[in-house]
Structure formats: C-alpha cells, structure tokens
C-alpha cells in the first residue's frame, strides 16, 4: 500500500467564506426582527441594513438532484448563499424585498414547502432509522415524511399558539431529543437472546453494566458463556442491544410506538422540561404509520384550539392541568403514566390540588 496521507487537522472551518455578505457585515449588530408572513423572516441591523429570510422544508436525506436544485435557487433568487437550520430546513437570505415572492414561488414550484417559521409546526427532528442505524426499531425518514405530509398545512401556515417542535426517534435512545410532541419506539418485550452469538460478539461485563435495572447476568447456556435476562425485572429499554446485537430487542409486533408531549428546550417563560408519556401501544405500521398521525393530529388540534397565544405545549398543559389534557384529547389514562422510576416521588401529587 502506498504511504497514507496525513489528515490536516483543521477542525471546524471558518463560516465567513460561506456567509451571506450582509450577515457578515452586520455580524453581532442586529436590532430587530419580524415575521412578515409564514416562512419569511425580516431582520434589521443597527446600520439600517435589512435582510429577508425565506425558509423552506427539505427531506434532510438529500440526493444530488435536490442539492443542486437548492443551490440553483440560491444563485437565481437569493444571492448565492443559504444556511440550514438545526431542523434541516433551508434558509435563503435576500437583501431586496422584491425578491421574496419570486423566491417563494420558485421553492414551492420545486417542491420545497415554504414555512416552518414562528408559530408553525416546524420540520421534525430527523434521525436515522432503517436507512442507516444499526439498532432501529422503525424507520426515521419514512415516519417523518408521512407525518409531515399530514402536517403540511401547519408547516406552511402560522396558526399555532406558539412554535411547535416535533421529534421522532427510532429507538428508546431518543437521538431526536425532547419535543413538544415526540414519537418514540417503545419495546414491550425483553430481548430475545441468540445464545450462539453472544460468546463471539459481546463483551459480557459491558453488557451487564449497561442495564439500568441490573436485569442481566452472565450465564452458561449449552456450556457456552452467554447472558441471561431476569424477565421480571427487565423494562425492555433496549440498552443492552447496541453493545450486544444478539440481544435482539426489536420485534415487528411487540415494538410499539409511544407518544410523548410537553418537552421544551427554550427557557422562555418556564424552565426547560422533559416530554411526558401520553400514549403508547401504537403499532409500527409502515409505510405511513396512520395510527401515529391520528394521535399527533388529535393532540395538535386540541392544543391549537385551547392554548393561549405564546403558550408552548407544556405551558398550556401546565395551565389546564393533566386531568384536563387527558379529558380534552380523549386519550386514556393508565397505570403506565404513573412514574415508578428513580425519583418518581416528585411526580406524584402531594397536595390537595385537584381539578374537576
């Protein structure tokens, strides 16, 4: 083999060469913004410079045609620069207000919905799923596509009480993060162990250490070193699966989908919160997961109708109370909603505050 090339350890590149010149010029000197219409932002700098941003949805997982199309639109309508948001939306910046409408048209015409700003439902936090991950219980791109089809109108309009941030995660690890509504794989049966493989593939102490409830112990099975799961203890979290693929946690029937609501990352008004379980047991129904869409839309509709302006999902529920949330959404309340994990005491109602 030829001598290998040493990497240039250059780290994070400077953004300046790729930044819209008006942003660069006014870096750190912005003083005002507004939302002229759905999908459009207006920012003004101390200098008086103005910039309009047009934001559009993408599929994140992009083929060359898509990427070039986006680049072409940038050159034709938007001064040659773009940026991506953390939610895989693309943003085009223009300094001339007159370019805004043609740009919007070009995007829609090319199949990129303009929206996702302000009090809309933005693009869903996207993970890997069947397309690339080694441990998924479901897909990501497909779930996102199916849901965004359902929520299209809410993306291109700004009719929600406040921003709505969704996430999906293809296993309980939850790479998608905490969200107003999170859709997450939830396993319901302990892993099935392929004992023939454990000895070859898995470092047993590592696997044992990963289990949050100490349900795994080393064992000899058919004379070979393997592992054993105390099925009474096991909470089916799947944490043993990444370090030990023979502990197959995914199951086409028993890996279900759960819906969580009220996660919030911003510090606006209330402190950040984790999302909470509201529904589970939904089937992993590829390719369009209609049962999931139903529940998500039900929750969004009630939120839209009932929350006050600027209330995020969690703020709204905090105000009306969980009993009312379950009543209004018609979602059943079960024993699984009652926490029993470490520290669960703080989630119990230790007061006479009740709602009727």
């Amino acid at each position: 083999m030829a001598e290998m090339r040493q990497p240039i350890e250059c780290g994070v590149p400077d953004a300046k060469p790729y930044m819209h010149p008006t942003m660069l010029k006014n870096y750190g000197k912005w003083v005002y913004h507004s939302h002229p219409k759905p999908g459009v932002l207006y920012h003004r700098a101390e200098s008086g410079d103005e910039i309009w941003t047009v934001k559009a949805g993408t599929q994140r997982q992009m083929d060359g045609y898509t990427i070039r199309k986006l680049a072409d639109i940038a050159d034709q309508y938007a001064e040659g620069f773009v940026r991506f948001t953390t939610r895989s939306n693309i943003e085009y910046m223009v300094t001339d207000e007159k370019k805004v409408e043609p740009l919007i048209k070009a995007l829609f015409d090319s199949g990129f919905p303009v929206g996702g700003t302000a009090n809309s439902v933005s693009m869903i936090s996207h993970t890997q799923g069947f397309l690339h991950c080694d441990i998924p219980g479901t897909d990501a791109s497909g779930v996102v596509k199916a849901l965004m089809d359902d929520l299209y109108e809410e993306f291109i309009k700004c009719e929600m009480p406040n921003r709505v941030k969704l996430s999906t995660s293809c296993c309980e690890i939850n790479c998608g993060g905490q969200a107003d509504i999170a859709i997450i794989m939830q396993h319901t049966k302990p892993p099935k162990i392929n004992h023939d493989l454990v000895a070859n593939v898995c470092e047993r102490p590592t696997v044992v250490a990963r289990c949050p409830v100490a349900a795994i112990r080393p064992a000899l099975v058919n004379g070979k070193p393997s592992l054993e799961v105390d099925e009474k203890k096991c909470i089916c979290c799947g944490a043993c699966y990444p370090p030990c693929p023979p502990m197959q946690i995914n199951d086409p029937e028993h890996s279900k989908i759960a819906i969580w609501v009220g996660g919030k990352n911003s510090n606006a008004r209330s402190r950040p919160t984790f999302h909470k379980l509201v529904a589970s047991g939904l089937p992993n129904n590829a390719p369009r997961w209609p049962e999931v869409g139903e529940v998500v839309k039900k929750i969004l509709n009630v939120y839209k109708a009932d929350a006050r302006p600027w209330e995020r999902m969690t703020d709204w529920i905090e105000r009306i109370g969980w009993p009312r949330f379950f009543e209004k959404t018609g979602l059943p309340f079960t024993k699984y909603h009652i926490d029993d994990w470490k520290g669960h005491r703080r989630t119990l109602n230790a007061s006479a505050h009740i709602r009727f």
Binding site: E172, N174, I184, Q186, T188, K189, P212, V213, C234, I235, C236, C237, H254, K256, A258, W260, G262, F274, H275, K276, L277, V278, S280, G281, R319, I320, G321, W322, P323, R324, F325, F326, P332, F333, T334, K335, Y336, H337, I338, D339, D340, W341, H344, R345, R346, T347, L348, N349, A350, S351, A352, H353, I354, R355, F356
Partner: protein, 429 residues
Amino acid sequence: MAKKMHDTPMLDQLESGPWPSFVTGLKRMAKNNDMAVDLLGQLEASYRDLKGYWKGGTVGVFGYGGGVIPRFTELKKDDKPVFPDAAEFHTLRIQPPPGMHYSSKLLRDMSTLWEKHGSGLIAFHGQSGDIMFQGCTTANVQPAFDELNEMGFDMGGAGPALRTSMSCVGAARCEMSCFDEARALRTVINNNLDDMHRPALPYKFKFKFSGCPNDCVNSIQRSDMATIGTWRDNIQVNEKLAKEYFATHGMDKLMTDVVGLCPTKALSVKKISEASKAEGISSVAVNDTHALQIENHNCVRCMHCLNVMPGALLPGKDRGVSILIGGKSVLKIGATMGTMVIPFMKLESDEDYEKLNELARNVIDFFAENALEHERTGEMIDRIGLVNFLDGVGIEVDPNMILEPRSNPYARMDGWDEEVEKWNERQAG
C-alpha cells in the same frame, strides 16, 4: 411543703420575658411536690451539660401494650439517682375530644387527678394531639389511667401502632369545613383501637382530618392517611359579602391579592355585562359594574380566594373529601408528603362514613402486610411504587394523582391495551 429546691441558675433565666414561663410553672409545682423539685434539678443538669438524662424502658397498663412513654433517669452517682424523686417520670398519652374542646370542669378534674397520681404537669397537647400527662412513677401509672378511663378517656398511641389522631376545629366553628371531621376521626380511630392499644404494626400509622385544603392539622406532611375536605361543584358566592369586601378593599387589592394570586389563573374580573354564564363559571358582582368570575373547572381548590374573601366565596355544595397517603417525617428516605390517591369521595351519609372506615382498614391491612419493619407507609410506597399500592388496596388510577406523567421510558408496557380497555370501561360506566 416539699423538699428544698436545687439551684437552677440557668433555668432561672427563663423566668424573665413576657411569654408564659414553664420554669415558673414548675417552680410553683415544686412548692409542694418533690418530683417537681427533682425534675428541676435534672433539667438544670441537662442545661448545664447539654445532655438529656432520660432513658426508656417498659411500663404499661393492664390490658394494653402501649400508650405510656416510660422515662427513667440516667443521671446517677454510685448507681443511685442524683434526683431520686424524679427517677421515674413517665408520660400517659391520653386521647382528647376531637377538636380539643374542654369545659372548665374537665380541665380542673384532669389537673386534680394528675396532681394526685402524677407530677401535675400536663401538656395541652402533644404534636400528635395527645393530652400528655407527664411525670408519673411506675406504681402510679395504673391508678392514674384507671381514673382517667373511668372519666371516659382512653389511652393514645405509642410505638409501632395506630396513633392518636387530630382533626381541625372544622364544622364546630369554620365556614370552610366540608365534612364532619370529628365524626370521621371517631369512626376511623374507634373502629381500629386494637391496633392502637396492642402495637403490632410494622411501624406507626397516623390519621389526620382537615375540613378543607387549608389543612390546619398539617395532615399531608404529618399523617400516613390524610382526609381533607373538598368539593366537586362550583364555588358558592355571596354578593352582599363580595360587595362589602370590594367596598373596603377596592379594585387594586382585588386584582393583586385575589385574582393575582390564584395559582391557576382561574379568576378574573369582568364587566358584569360581559360576565359568562357558562356551566362551570361562578360569578359574583363586586359593585354595580364589575364581577369576580371563577372558572371552576380550572380551580384546584387551593382555598386562597375563599380565604381572602371569607363568606363572599364558600366551598361548593357537593362536598366530600380527598385522601392522601404516605406523609411522614425525615427518617431513612427524607420527609415525604402524602400522595393524592382519592381525589374525591362523598362523606355525608352513614354509608359514606362506613366506606371511609373500610378504606382506612384496607390501607392499614396493606401496610401491615407489606411494609418492612420500621417502614412507614410513605417509604413503602416509595419502594414498591404507587401503582402497586393502588392495586393492593383496590383504587383505580386517576390523573389527579400525579403532577405529570412519566418522562422516562423505563416501564414495561405490554399490558397497554388492557389498561386502555379498563379506562374506557370506567369512562363509559
């Protein structure tokens, strides 16, 4: 004339100052009571050495296994008590009438009795609600109890037993009261006296009864089972009193002290013309133009607005109680509060009281069978999880039991469909 007083230079400093002095009281007793003389002696020694000088032991009355707190002196020289007349200083815990009502005669009778058999020192009351007859020799415990018992009084709880209970003044003098606290207390306690008088529970168990969520007997934090009055329908209003409040306090106070402090923003002030007449709304005019409006579905029955505008706002008519389980002090896992397990049950008819009694019995039984030694109910629930407790005593889940649903996926949910089924059936039924 009793024996000579000991020097008590430190205690003497507690005779000055405007608050009633227990030292002055003890000294008064000591004039003709040797036990009091020596008690002062030992107490002074404790103050000097910063050290308690009592130890426990076993003393009781015939037929009962508890209720007496035995105290023997540890302050000895050459194995002999330094203060021999206070060498035994036991306490009898006696249950008072609920609400702690007394006639002057009863007070005098008790005092006389205790000067005869004991030191004369009585605490009205212990933190659990007992009358504590303090300072009795082992020999005198039985006769003292016999006499109290003949007067119609019974021993309270001590040790791993059902404990003496407390209820607020409630129905006797308080417009916030949502049930007959005294009746509930007597029903529950008097039906379970065996567990009080013959200690055989894993650990202590306390009931407390508050007529409303102001919780004047601290039941949530200080009892294993708290019964707290509440209501299901709309807050009642009285226009005359509401207008009186407004006339003396004005709009600013109404907004800041009442509306502004409602924890769920269930209150608002509306123009009378715009006041809502919808179901679930209470409205009361505060003057000719404005009304205070309550969104009762969002009211959490915290009591605040009723407290600030007494009489103008009153609990609804459909009254009953909430039940919370598991309050206790700090041992082992840190202080715990009771958890809401029954958001609402009626407490009016004989059957209602009988149901409360049954529930109480179920809870004690579950505790007796499932708690570890020296484990309180709250600790037990913390260990086994609320759901297992509910299952055990036969209570259905309700979202009012929690502040929020779980935020972790660490649960095995294979029974989801069944549980949904149960909920739907109950909602339909």
